[in-house]
């Protein structure tokens, strides 16, 4: 007896229809990561690695060729970047070594994806020359400016620790960058823990010197690239490209220091001497995360926890992506 199998036909074609729709979405997604453009938003701070990439332009072009439109967003400091990262308005952020730790402690889901070279020579504690402050112990009873939750805080604490001083031996003043700059220039604070280009600037224009720098403190003050954890997991290919092309710019920067100086000078609106000082005391690079870098971060996390800057223990290794 012939049966028209109407129900079976409806069933099987419906199933195939659903299958095709799902596959279509898969196609959109698979090709969406490959050919159609996707916007990647990158947060950076003035004069940092991404700023070089942004100014040079090659980075965005190469990413465009791979199907990604790059948008750069400038931030004043790391904590602002971390907030933007937490609410999803940026996909990558170039930060110093501490904002990530404090953000992790406050529950931001972020992943370290890349590490930069050491900036130890450009970071340190600034004092004015001729004020009789020649060693860390001379800072006893003095006022030191820093920015809370940034590398300057870590560096400062590390420096005090190394000199055998406690935080009660000095007056610590947390100021934001511009306020601190003014306070230091006007002599309202005796010392200022900071990094390039502010340090070079002060050294060149304010007759200041670095009392201690990162190298003497064993503080590398690296740059890191972080991304929201979910984004990092889903976009390894993008991250690989970001690291690759960023590092290409870094290699270019190492080879073309005079061009870099001109570029940064224009960008940062600083004196040539300042930029030269900054550029010449560091090398640039951007690589995938390394165990050494993670260990440095963990050191910061431990110190911050001990100093009760953060209230939660942070296991940095749980928030790192080692890309192949």
């Amino acid at each position: 007896m012939k049966n028209n199998h109407v129900h079976r036909k409806i069933f099987v074609w419906l199933l195939i229809g659903v299958w095709i729709i799902i596959a279509y979405f898969g196609w959109r997604q698979a090709t969406g990561a490959g050919t159609s453009t996707k916007t990647i938003t990158i947060g950076y701070q003035a004069g940092d690695e991404f700023d070089i990439s942004k100014t040079r332009g090659a980075f965005a072009k190469k990413m465009k060729a791979k199907g990604y439109t790059v948008k750069f967003k400038e931030f004043q400091n790391g904590s602002a970047e971390m907030q933007a990262l937490a609410n999803g308005s940026i996909d990558y952020a170039r930060i110093g070594d501490t904002p990530g730790i404090t953000a992790l402690a406050s529950g931001t889901k972020l992943t370290y994806v890349a590490a930069g070279a050491s900036k130890a020579n450009g970071s340190g504690i600034l004092v004015k020359k001729g004020q009789g402050i020649n060693s860390m112990s001379d800072l006893k009873g003095k006022t030191i400016a820093y920015t809370k939750g940034t590398s300057s805080e870590y560096m400062l604490r590390k420096a005090l620790q190394k000199a055998g001083l406690s935080t009660s031996d000095v007056t610590l003043k947390s100021l934001d960058q511009s306020a601190a700059a003014v306070a230091f220039a006007k002599g309202k604070v005796d010392a200022w823990a900071n990094w390039d280009p502010a340090t070079s600037q002060a050294e060149v224009t304010e007759n200041a010197k670095l009392l201690v720098n990162g190298t003497t403190l064993g503080v590398n003050n690296r740059s890191f690239i972080v991304a929201p954890t979910k984004f990092a997991k889903q976009n390894k290919a993008v991250t690989k490209l970001v690291i690759k092309y960023s590092n290409a710019d870094m290699q270019w920067a190492n080879k073309h220091k005079s061009k870099l100086v001109a570029m940064m000078q224009k960008k940062l609106k600083l004196k040539k001497a300042v930029v030269e000082k900054m550029v010449n005391r560091r090398t640039y690079k951007m690589t995938r995360m390394t165990k050494t870098a993670v260990k440095e971060l963990q050191d910061i996390a431990n110190l911050f926890y001990q100093s009760k800057i953060i209230t939660k223990k942070v296991q940095v290794k749980d928030h790192v992506q080692y890309l192949k």
Binding site: M1, K2, N3, H5, R8, K9, F11, V12, L15, I16, W19, I20, I22, A23, Y24, F25, G26, W27, Q29, A30, T31, A33, G34, K230, K233, Q234, K236, A237
Partner: protein
């Protein structure tokens, strides 16, 4: 038609006492295939809950489901399933389609057979997964490499079964068709294709199986998305829950494709039983 219906009614009335019995038996027959999978899952859950099995190596089904839910909420699960399904389908359509066409052409034309068949038979014996390095070198690690691999995997079962189906058509039926004045086209449509259909659908079933196994391997070797990738990625981080989730998804997708193939057989081969 009326006669038939009355005939059926007659049959049914004479077997009324059997009907209820048969009905419950049929219900049982439907449940029977689920017996082993369901009891395995229950056993598994119990074994993990009572710590008979170390849950860090074999997570409980409930944990696997919970992992599935959380991956779904993050959007990762759907995305990877969609992408895997896309790769599988496109590979299947391209490979299966070429296999079908090649099988038809070689089955129907002696010249084509003489030219192509020995080459195809030779290539057939290369395990298609051995082509992964070649694929990566030639096509990179993009979509085309994975899709091509699936396509190659699907091509041969489809080719062999189609070819076999076409060449083993009962010669008497073809002779009958010719002597009854059927054109070549009608001969193909009314006799050769329907006759080869069981074999072709068998090829579809095999190809669907190969499609999934090839895709798993392709995605574990080089991918940044898809179920296979999810599984390899989870393996790197010893995330057993995700690994088991991926295995389950593969099992379900495999079952789904089998259901489709089986339903096609039930629809288009119902004359066989």
């Amino acid at each position: 038609m009326d006669q038939e219906i009355s005939l059926n009614i007659n049959q049914e009335t004479t077997t009324t006492n059997n009907v209820t019995h048969q009905h419950s038996k049929r219900k049982l027959d439907r449940l029977l295939p689920w017996l082993i999978p369901v009891s395995l899952v229950i056993l598994w859950q119990v074994a993990v809950s009572t710590k008979l099995i170390d849950s860090s190596f074999v997570p409980a089904p409930s944990a696997v489901i919970a992992q599935g839910v959380s991956l779904w909420q993050s959007g990762e699960l759907q995305k990877n399933i969609c992408i895997s399904l896309f790769r599988a389908s496109v590979g299947f359509v391209i490979g299966g389609g070429s296999g079908l066409v090649l099988g038809l052409v070689n089955g129907l034309s002696k010249t084509a057979r003489a030219t192509l068949d020995s080459t195809v038979q030779m290539l057939r014996n290369i395990p298609h997964l051995a082509l992964i390095p070649v694929m990566i070198l030639v096509l990179g690690i993009g979509e085309s490499a994975k899709i091509s691999l699936v396509a190659i995997g699907c091509l041969f079962p489809m080719y062999i079964n189609t070819y076999h189906g076409i060449t083993s058509v009962d010669h008497g039926l073809i002779e009958m068709g010719k002597s009854y004045g059927l054109s070549s086209w009608a001969l193909l449509r009314k006799i050769i294709l329907p006759s080869a259909l069981p074999s072709i659908l068998m090829g579809v079933r095999y190809a669907l199986g190969v499609m999934w196994t090839t895709l798993i391997v392709a995605e574990t070797v080089s991918a940044d998305s898809g179920i296979g990738y999810m599984s390899t990625n989870a393996q790197q981080f010893m995330n057993m829950k995700t690994i088991f989730l991926c295995i389950t998804i593969y099992a379900l997708l495999g079952k789904l494709s089998d259901v489709i193939a089986k339903t096609f057989e039930q629809i288009y081969l119902d004359w066989r039983n």
